[in-house]
């Protein structure tokens, strides 16, 4: 049961253009969403997050948009740079239950390739 879906296994974008990575989720209990970036042989690195009370969060070249009614979020990278080439994971979590720490549910990832 894939609660977080990234339907594009790979995406190729020209340097300087906008990269748009998409993510859909099915669990309406998710209220916090994160994007992680992963280079080969390294652990995922946190990139940007958004709470369900917002519909947009921006950090430099990275912007995350959340459409709760569509259960969809996207990551925009503008302008795309060669160093952005990596696998991007969308992740989601449910509200803190008070009894402990819930894990993140990850999508399968999208391999972003920035072409010169």
């Amino acid at each position: 049961d894939q609660q977080v879906k990234q339907n594009s296994p790979s995406l190729s974008v020209q340097e300087g253009r906008i990269s748009i990575l998409n993510c859909d989720y099915t669990n309406s209990m998710f209220d916090y969403f994160l994007w992680y970036k992963k280079y080969p042989a390294e652990g995922p690195t946190f990139l940007i997050s958004i709470s369900s009370i917002k519909d947009k969060n921006e950090d430099g070249r990275f912007t995350v948009f959340l459409n709760k009614s569509a259960k969809h979020l996207s990551l925009h990278i503008v302008p795309s740079q060669p160093g952005d080439s990596a696998v991007y994971f969308c992740a989601a979590s449910q509200p803190f239950s008070g009894g402990g720490a819930d894990g993140l549910t990850f999508g399968k990832g999208t391999h972003l390739i920035i072409q010169p």
């Binding site: 209220d31 916090y32 994160l34 992680y36 042989a41 390294e42 652990g43 995922p44 690195t45 946190f46 997050s49 994971f89 979590s93 449910q94 509200p95 803190f96 009894g99 402990g100 720490a101 819930d102 894990g103 993140l104 549910t105 990850f106 999508g107 399968k108 990832g109």
Partner: protein, 113 residues
């Protein structure tokens, strides 16, 4: 910058052997996690740990798996009797608040022969 460190970076073991993967989370973090990624597949949640006990665990985390925080700094994942399908990259992570940003280690690659 503080970071999560994991050892070993790569371990090769025979099926049926016990394996212990070690992690040193960021020192002021309170929540600890193990994830794994089988080659070509997504990152999967295994277990979370808070206040010296397991908070949540996934279906993957069966009786063959256990976690421990033996000395206040290390966080270990033990697999009692490894199976071929346990071959994966295992990531440790920590955070200072639940549902917040998780900081991941670089991973320990486990190869079961």
């Amino acid at each position: 910058e503080p970071e999560v460190t994991q050892t070993p970076s790569h371990q090769v073991t025979q099926m049926g052997q016990e394996v212990i993967l070690r992690c040193v989370p960021i020192s002021n973090h309170l929540y600890f996690y193990w994830y794994r990624q089988i080659l070509g597949q997504k990152v999967e949640f295994l277990v979370s740990f808070y206040n010296n006990e397991i908070s949540e665990k996934s279906e993957i985390f069966d009786d063959q798996f256990s976690v421990e925080r033996p000395d206040g700094s290390n966080f270990t994942l033990k697999i009692r009797s490894t199976k071929l399908e346990d071959s994966a990259m295992y990531f440790c992570a920590s955070s200072d608040i639940s549902t917040g940003e998780l900081f991941f280690g670089e991973g320990s690659r486990l190869t079961v022969l």
